[in-house]
Amino acid sequence: MLRQIEGSRAVAETVALCRPEVVCAYPISPQTHIIEALGELVKTGELTPCEFINVESEFAAMSVAIGASAAGARAFTATASQGLLFMMEAVYNASGLGFPIVMTLANRAVGAPINIWNDHSDAMAARDAGWVQLFAETVQEAADLHIQAFRLAEEVSVPVMVCMDGFILTHATERVDLPTQEQVDAFLPPYVPRQVLDPADPYSIGSMVGPEAFEEVRYLAHARQLTALGRIGELGAEFAEAFGRDSGGLVHPYRSADADVVVVAMGSVLGTIKDVIDTQRAAGHRIGALGITSFRPFPIDAVRNALKGARRVVVVEKAISVGFGGVLSTDVAMTLSGLPVPVATVVAGLGGRTITKTSLGDVFEAALGDQLAPLTFLDLNRGLVERELERMALHRRSGPTAENMLRDLGVTGSRIG
């Protein structure tokens, strides 16, 4: 049914349609609306049977999900930013043990400095945790990906993280087609655990594994992700067939077939990028985009196929590997190894910095004119940086950097955008 609905609410209602049996809740912006809504659905009896558990930390949230999954229940939780990092030990544990937990990650910057706004630092910090990581471009896709996530997770025994941009998607209302219970039930069969704690068939789960078998266990985790890689595309197609929407899949090309410059990105910024591309196409430029939905497993072949004809690739990413540069762009460059396609990184939108069409247009034009530097920080306030560097050069006790810069900026509360 078509609804004008907030992103978090759409995700919560969709998750409810997936019949999770245990939902663990710990509040952290910007995911709180999701677990609030699920708590309400459990309390009203609309989502039943379901145990909604208010835990004392994100570490406990993931741990309760692990216990629930080990006992054969379909488990869900949601987090963001510091919360993901606080639960990280359990995040690795869930994937290492092969529990098909689904978690919404309302992408948010990781401090310090503390910052509640959107970027992808949190997801990137969990890149190697062994979870499938799917990125949603719109609220519709965020909702739809959860249905596919449960199916995928349970089929291949790998936990799945559905990444949706914090605030930008979680707090936005837009037109969303929410499926019916019958549709979801037809797509998502009941969870049949591969391993379960059962007194009738008792065994040990979580034994210590030494050097004699650890590599093999890890290899199988990798193999499961490769299986997932194949299934993500198939499930996306099956989903499109059943629901009439092209949500999910590995990658989404946009006007890239004949493009000289292809812009690669993940998440909601693709919408803004597409608008800019339409403008530049109208001006006669051959430019397109490639949205990556599945970041882990990384679709090497699909990305290489989509980009191999380009003259230049620009990766716009909301994260930075400090001391190196891009994170996504590293993967993209690797897929293009051996091809004469240079990859430029544009670090943008950190900590919620607005990514404007104007600024994107400028870097795309620079790329079209072969003028784009290998690494660009979009809309970096160089003056602000220089002033702090100067202070640090002049005074040993120059004080805390973030606070110094805020003082330089003055009042920011009245800024728009």
Partner: protein
Amino acid sequence: MFEVRFHGRGGQGAVTAADLLALAAFEEGRYAQSFPSFGSERMGAPVVAYCRLGEREIRTREPVVAPDCLIVIDPTLVHQVDLFAGLGPDGYVLVNSTRTLHELGLGSLADRFRPERLLTVPATEVAQRQIGRPLPNAALLGSFAALTAQVTIEAVSSAIRERFNRNPSVAERNVAAAAELFQQARQLMTANGRAVLGAPPD
């Protein structure tokens, strides 16, 4: 596409107003997108919310930097925040105040914008009387409907009813307030010789 920027203070319902407007447009078959300015605002802090209305899928995630209409829920913001940034010469301004623009010290707006697209309405007072609480956000959309004709008052009422469906009495009082402010806006526009409702921009 028609873009609206709401300015209010935490607790006044700027975000809800943006969501309601999006819902109203949705109910009339249009595409809409609303979102807040994402601060960790507390009661009383300046809040900005955005709403875009269009005939096709709205993809951009940029904040509204060049609005077609400004809705100022809290008139005390007019001299604190750069409210009018990005508003084009054909833009609409709707201010919640018992005073005129002139009295608010905004008389010069008439030089920069089309006077018939500038309007102040006493939404807080109407809300206080109709709803029993000084919550002008939903009611202001009645005046917005009159001023811009971007949405009908019926769609606004329907959106209010849907949003407050758990509390029909609150919904109906908000609908009444919106209806009153719709009428007031029409009368003000006519009385001031500003009968032009304003055709929706492209």
